[in-house]
């Protein structure tokens, strides 16, 4: 079976459910890139990002994650699934951390404390300035990181980010503003 480039996600999903492996491959190739880049920036490790992408599409394949076209677009749904999987990974990692770590509330208490467990600072990118931005991003609290990555790297609107993260638009604005401010502080030497 051949799939035309103009085929919509819904058509591909339908064909995939009818047993077309080509449709599934086309759907995967269409969305894996943004999803992988999101997961990579979000959890900071290439291996974890690949696992998240694989689990997201496996969930789509097995019916574990049910996409409803009436509730939004497939890319946003996939971002939401990937984000939830990453949160589970972080939750599992946090169980091994000592008590007294700052929570995920909206204050800036956690801004200066790098989350080494969830965001390894190993070099990922070749370009030095890009790598510095990535590292600064990795030091943001996860809930700020979500908003900044989805807005700056994936061009999602406030409403789309709100849907992906399950928060209201006002919270998206606030997290984006605080995340940007924290990044600007960290990257001040780079900008000077």
């Amino acid at each position: 079976m051949t799939t035309a480039p103009a085929t919509t996600d819904i058509d591909l999903l339908r064909a995939m459910r009818s047993g077309s492996a080509d449709a599934f491959a086309a759907l995967y190739r269409r969305h894996q890139g943004p999803l992988y880049r999101f997961a990579l920036l979000r959890c900071g490790a290439a291996g974890s990002a690949a696992d998240v992408v694989q689990e997201t599409f496996m969930g789509l394949l097995t019916g574990r994650f049910q996409f409803d076209p009436l509730r939004g677009q497939l890319p946003h749904f996939l971002f939401g699934v990937a984000r939830n999987l990453i949160l589970k990974l972080e939750e599992a990692g946090r169980r091994h951390l000592p008590l007294g770590r700052p929570g995920h509330d909206d204050d800036e208490d956690g801004l200066d404390l790098p989350d080494e467990q969830a965001c390894p600072l190993a070099r990922v990118l070749g370009n030095e300035s890009a790598e510095q931005v990535r590292r600064a991003l990795a030091l943001l609290p996860p809930h700020y990181r979500d908003a900044v990555i989805l807005y700056e790297m994936h061009d999602l609107s406030y409403a789309d980010i709100a849907a992906v993260c399950g928060i209201d638009i006002g919270t998206v604005r606030s997290r984006l503003s605080r995340g940007r401010a924290a990044l600007a502080r960290r990257l001040q030497p780079l900008q000077a």
Partner: protein
């Protein structure tokens, strides 16, 4: 890692999407990153093993075939026609005749007393046991006696009727006699 930009469905950047220039280098660097090919291979193998992926649970109305819909629609139509037919015929079948209506509306304790209707307003025992009844003559509107079964026509609706009230010593009305209204021997009214 390979690049599949042709299949990416990144939304067009909105003109009012104010991007932070800090991310330009990161965006350019990340644009070349994709999920490792092993992930696609694993997913396609999983697809081949599983066959057609599980379709989302269908809603009840989606599970019905065209034949089911036709059958259901036909049954509903027949039921509606039946209800409509019953609603027309039942009231006719149940409509009582004029005589039956008069008999039904006739008070239980109506007797003919000297050719005039005698209407007991209390029980026969109470009337018989009353030690000092007195008769009070009065005139009442004919329309006020409709509740007691007195026939009313447009011609006599405004008439007044002479009535004799049997009143107990405590002032309570025990019975009513209408001397100007002819009554049938069995106590039925004669319309006039």
């Amino acid at each position: 890692m390979r690049k599949n930009d042709a299949m990416d469905s990144r939304p067009t950047r909105a003109p009012d999407h104010d991007h932070d220039p800090l991310f330009d280098a990161l965006r350019a660097e990340m644009a070349t990153l994709d999920t490792p090919p092993a992930v696609e291979q694993a997913l396609l193998q999983a697809f081949a093993r599983q066959g057609a992926p599980a379709a989302p649970p269908r809603r009840w109305y989606q599970a019905l075939s065209a034949r089911d819909w036709a059958l259901g629609g036909g049954l509903a139509g027949v039921a509606l026609a039946l209800v409509a037919a019953l609603s027309v015929t039942l009231p006719r079948m149940q409509a009582p005749s004029a005589g039956m209506q008069a008999a039904a509306s006739r008070p239980q304790l109506v007797r003919a007393d000297d050719g005039a209707p005698f209407i007991a307003l209390d029980s026969a025992e109470r009337i018989e046991d009353e030690p000092a009844p007195r008769m009070v003559e009065t005139v009442v509107p004919r329309s006020s006696l409709v509740a007691l079964g007195l026939p009313l026509t447009p011609d006599n609706a405004g008439d007044a009727v002479r009535a004799e009230l049997l009143v107990a010593s405590d002032g309570r009305a025990l019975a009513l006699r209408l001397p100007d209204i002819p009554a049938m021997p069995d106590g039925g009214w004669i319309a006039n």
